[in-house]
């Protein structure tokens, strides 16, 4: 495993280095970049990770999942699930997934977040760089090395499961969802919204919402901005 990890004290961000490794040096599956201090820690939609770097664990891993291109967004769910499993070691009660990229505790505090930079080949996923960041303060200030090892192991495991049984990964994400059954408003990009009760993730990784009259609507990650918990109409 030594050759699979590169460590940097300072870098723009872990994802950029892992991406370069994957594209220029054919980084193998599971290759990991760890950065102590990210200058530009970007998450989904390029949003900044707001926690201080000295209280953050940041790592990026190379995945080469055997997925069709239209199921590429499942990588986000799998990455979230991996982070959740790693966080379950440190947090009680068990943390929850906040689709598509966050892991939260039972108070709704963000323990960590993931980002997936997905490279497509014709009709399939060529590779993905999965970045995970953990807020050490919220997790209870465990030792940094221990968190890195836990996240690394969990991401490797879930990447293998994604190849062998994507449906199981999807079901596990649904089971751990903080939104299950909640009435939510998904704000879309560039504008608009979709409302309904959250019903889990579909085969392409999109959030499924269902209305009280049974109409199913899907929210793809690419057009998803943010989520608010709504109130069902009278």
């Amino acid at each position: 495993m030594e050759g699979l990890r590169r460590h940097f004290t300072v870098a723009v961000n872990a994802e950029a280095l892992a991406l370069a490794w994957a594209r220029q040096d054919a980084a193998p599956i599971g290759a990991t970049v760890v950065v102590d201090h990210e200058i530009s820690p970007r998450g989904r939609l390029g949003r900044l990770w707001q926690r201080p770097s000295d209280r953050t664990v940041a790592m990026a891993m190379v995945w080469r999942p055997q997925l069709a291109a239209d199921a590429a967004d499942l990588i986000w769910s799998a990455a979230s699930l991996g982070l959740l499993r790693a966080m379950a070691t440190y947090v009680d009660p068990e943390p929850l997934l906040l689709w598509p990229d966050e892991v939260v505790d039972d108070m709704g505090r963000v323990l960590g977040a993931v980002r997936a930079e997905i490279q497509l080949a014709p009709g399939r996923v060529a590779s993905a760089i999965v970045t995970a960041r953990v807020d050490l303060d919220t997790v209870g200030r465990p030792e940094r090395g221990s968190v890195l090892a836990a996240v690394d192991d969990a991401l490797v495991t879930v990447a293998a499961q994604l190849d062998t049984d994507a449906e199981m990964v999807r079901d596990a994400c649904t089971a751990c969802s903080a939104l299950a059954g909640c009435a939510v408003i998904a704000h879309l990009l560039p504008r608009g919204e979709v409302r309904g009760a959250a019903q889990g993730i579909d085969a392409s990784g999109a959030l499924q919402l269902v209305s009280s009259t049974g109409l199913r609507q899907r929210v793809p990650i690419v057009s998803f901005d943010r989520l608010t918990v709504g109130r069902l109409p009278r």
């Binding site: 608009g192 009259t213 109409p233």
Partner: protein
């Protein structure tokens, strides 16, 4: 069938149904005139006439109906795109003795800025049983 409330109540129910994708409720709140108009437009835009007939007669399959009503919802949402469903107020000014009513959709803004801002309207018609149904909704006053 629709709610037995007044025009403003029915308009509010209609807006909530549109916002929360209650597709069959939206359809049931539309007047027969509005449903015919919707199907006529759909047919002009290429809908299979037989499907339009099945939808008109309520004999379409669930998938056919859901696809059609999902498109209808998208269209209504586009028409009401400037309306904040959560904060808008529905106000009906007249007693509507004529069998029709117009409900104004108002968004409250601070008094120095001019008071309630009209952001749309919903036109309703009285049915023979005394209930109200939606004829038209639009997002610009």
């Amino acid at each position: 069938m629709n709610d037995t409330g007044g025009p403003a109540d029915v308009a509010r129910t209609f807006l909530d149904a549109v916002a929360w994708a209650e597709h069959t409720k939206v359809w049931s709140l539309l007047s027969s005139q509005a449903r015919s108009a919707v199907l006529e437009v759909a047919a002009r835009r290429g809908m299979d006439p037989l499907l339009a007939a099945r939808l008109r007669e309520s004999t379409a399959g669930a998938d056919e109906r859901d696809n059609f009503l999902a498109d209808l919802l998208h269209g209504i949402r586009a028409d009401l795109s400037g309306v904040d469903f959560d904060s808008v107020r529905c106000v009906c000014d007249d007693a509507a003795n004529s069998g029709t009513a117009t409900v104004r959709l108002l968004h409250d803004v601070p008094a120095p800025l001019g008071g309630p801002l009209p952001v749309g309207f919903v036109e309703l018609a009285a049915e023979s049983d005394g209930s109200w149904s939606v004829v038209r909704a639009h997002g610009s006053a």
